[in-house]
Amino acid sequence: MRGLVLDDVAITLDARPLVGPLSLDVAPGEVVTVMGPSGSGKSTLLAYVGGFLAKAFAARGRVLVDDLDVTGMPPEKRAVGILFQDDLLFPHLTVGGNLAFGLRAGVREASRRRAIVEEALAQAGLAGFADRDPATLSGGQRARVALLRTLLAEPRALLLDEPFGKLDAALRQDVRAFVFARARDRGLPTLMVTHDAEDARAAGGRVVEVG
Amino acid sequence: MNSPARRIARSLATGIGVAALVVASAASAQDVPETRDFPQILEEARGQTVYWNAWGGDPATNDFIAWVGEEVEERYGVSLVHVKLSDTAEAVSRVVAEKAAGRDDGGAVDLIWINGPNFLAMKDQGLLYGPFVEALPNFDLVDVEDKPSNVVDFTVPVDGLAAPWRVAQVAYLYDAERVAADTVPASIAELGEWAAANPGRLTHPTARDFLGATFLKQALVELVADPAALQAPAADATYEETVAPVWDWYEALRPHLWRAGAEFPESGPAQNQLLADGETDIAITFNPAEAAAGAIQGRLPETTRVFFLEDGTIGNTSFVAIPYNAANAEGAMVVADFLMSPQAQARAQDPANLGAFTVLDLSALSAEERAAFDVTDAHPAMPAPEEFVRVLPEPHPSWMTRLVEDWERRISG
């Protein structure tokens, strides 16, 4: 089946069970929310799915993306995009440079790349921002650029690690809508970790409690 | 400093023991006279890079060597690299090590500025190339009659194994502004009296330094009962007795020296700096033109003058020698020949450059060449010809070696 599948995933720290065992199917376009108190290991779960679990943890279980078992793969081969609480735009690149970094290498021609980047910016209401320094953007704008960067890499699944935690209330709604709409449009199976019930409600999908 | 390591390493690498070297040194290696003619040497020298190992503590000498480098490059296509030593022994030990390791050609040292105990050591151990000086055309211009030190170094016959390039004679620098010309000492004894009357105003370089050892040797040649004894190697049986007057004199002098004789400048230039700074008033030099050279080059006050001791002062000649295993012996010979050329000698004698007296017999030169030497007399700090005193021969090197050991013990003990 298409989508993101977690098959009997369990994570332990010092032989102490932290997460799971957990099995979960996330369908294309669906947003599944993982909730739990701090320290419950919900971000650790995302790290496992993304492929950068710290050595201190032990884990078992498979992760499948569109039927492909990515469990043993390095993160860059998994085609799993991730967004964190901070936008983490590369400070040494322009807005356009950040997006071009994300844009898959298959598009070779420089003018074509530029066009795609500008198109993406325009669709997000950020037309003309390509040559701006990320530091000059507002929080909401930065969050959008971060998502655009992720989407330009054409991931097959999306991980959201408390993605709206640092935005103020008004902005949060706005960005949330933007992110979920894009994920659905693209049919991305999305796994979100949050401790904000409002996020889960807005996502409108299933909620899994851990911890 | 590095050479003993090299020596050991070479021995390790080849399995040739250093002990074997010590034994071998008794039986001097065969001298191999240079048989090629000079044009052929010039031909083979072209394109060579000569590593000239020479004491690097004096900028005026360093500049002169740099000038020589430019000239031989331009004239003969020979590159010259000045390996600046803080002690000539470093170069000697490098060659010793190479011999121990069996590196009989392709050695790292091509040319050494050398005389005294270092020359004797190399000659004795068969570490020198040649005889080669007869093959150098400019050697014909060298004064071997009136300047015997050009062919006999510290009582040791040079035997053509080293080329002379500058003449040295002990003199003393003083600042005429602070010391009246008619009060300067005229003998070793008077020097002691002067120091007692002017405490802290006299010092000498540490005896580990060549010039510092000469300060002691000058006392030796003047105070010793029979100067002729110094022409033979120092013998254990008579050494203590012979040098006793020197140490009597020195121990009386020492408390009156700068820093009460507890600390000494590391070199001649360091001693001269003290004179320039006004910390001391009298300084020994191996170069009677040093006052003029120092004044012209701005190292010494304009009022610096020189005096000699009336019974004569020690004189010697600086040589360049080529190690037996030099990688670039032809280039080294070309440099040695150029050093004896009228152009190089005139430049060296000009106090604006070096102020080193020539080894040449000026009467052997053309009038034009001779004219280039004239400028030296012009400077007021140059001693007049009649002021020069008799040149006393250097004692056998063993005297210097032992005096320095004694001094070291006395100072530290």
Partner: protein, 569 residues
Amino acid sequence: MTTRPDVLRAAPALTLALFLVPIGAGLLGTLAPAFGVLPAIGESGFTLDAWRTLAEQPGIDASIRLTLTSGLLSTALALVFACGFAALASSRPGIARLERALAPLLATPHVAVAIGLAFLVASSGLLVRVVSPWLTGWERPPALAIVRDPYGLSYVAGLAIKETAFLVLMVLAAQGQVRAAQALAAARALGYAPLVAWAKVVLPAIYRQIRLPVYAVLAFSLSNVEVALVLAPGTPPPLAVLAMRWFSSWDLSLYPVAAAAATLQLAVVVAGIGAWRVAEAFVKRIHRAWCERGRRTGLAGPVLALGGAGGVVSGVAILAAIGVMALWSIAENWRYPDALPRALSLRTWERALPTMSDLVSTTAAIAAAASLLAVILALACLENEARRDLKPGARALWLLYVPLLVPQIAFLFGAQVALVRLDLDGTLTAVIWAHLLFVLPYVFLSLADPFRALDPRYARIAAGLGASPWRTFFTVKLPMLARPVATAFAVGFSVSVALYLPTLFAGAGRIMTLTTEAVTLSSGADRRVVGVTAFLQAALPLLVYAAALAGPGLIAARRRRVTLREGTP
């Protein structure tokens, strides 16, 4: 899977081998002959002859005494200066602003500072000249033994002044790690005076962090040759200088004696560090009792304030030392008691230029090569650590400090044996390698913190975008770390420029740098030429520092304009 990650995996081992092997081989090569194991001369039996001869050398006991007292005293002084400065800076913003001057002070080579200081304080030096004869009545330089005094006090002062800058930097870095500001605020809220609060709550925390750098300073002070040649007394000199004298003699019988002296030097450093540790334990007990007594003010205040003043004076002294040598380089006729030269000219520079341009290019080439290699190795180790999720251990830190703790003279002689066998002595390769030993620890220490502090999520984002680890390294991490990388390079560069013994030994005298030249000339040659050399020696690392500070900003600005075109990996 490419093979490149395996190259990276080997980085730590390669790095350690690069500097532990020569040090180990060197120590062995020094130890063996000291105990009569000298296969080269057919002696392989254990003997203490060399030690007996060493013990009989005139002045050897005085030399050991001088070495130990000057090393311990100068390190203690530098530590008090550095702590005083940091304590003052944490309560007075005016002092804190002076921290900016640290980098240039740190970059100035020891020899240049020592030469300048020697002229400043000599009895015919600048300080005496400024007040003579109008105030002192000294028409002639007074008969005071200031420079190279028999007790080594000028030597102690010279070392303390130069090392203070390094320790200040270490203290400030440690303060950042131990949340000193909060602790300080808490103590002051309890009614403690600022400096007393610093001594009671910040000092113990930071001392744990700076212990290794303090030992490195101690080891250097106990075993350096270059500062000793300029400022320490010569009859007898510190032990390292004695060992150098015997090593450079062509009299073969002195070789085992020199090796014994170098071994003794190692023992002296071990003993010095041991004595320091004993003192540490002692001070710790007093400190605890003092803290528990609860007095809100105390002697610590004035002591730290005085130390801080010493720190500021040290900085001023370094600048003055370089300034006065720069002035000498253009001086004509500068005689006692003139406080300024009577005339200025550029003729010394004109005369020295051909020699100096060679020296500058050799010095810069060696420093650039060693620093570049060190930066690459340090980055490789750190990147390997990041990718394999390794935690840096304390043991690794000790290993890193090995070249800074083992006295140079104790392993350089032996290491040279290895170089000769490899036919590498006197080559640039050997000199660069020798420099790498000392450059790498500083480069690594300067790069490790910023590298480890980089938010790992940037790399995860990049991986999520499909970038390989190498692409992430080159296009994300490296550009983001441009400034620390450039700074680390500059730190390495300045360390390399200042190195004396490693250049001398590996270069077999054939490879000359500004530092070897400065030391050769410092024994007394024309002070104006020494001035040119010392000034250039100080200016070269400063230039690189300035470039390191300005460069990354310019490059980043340029990058921003062009990145859009660099879509392909």
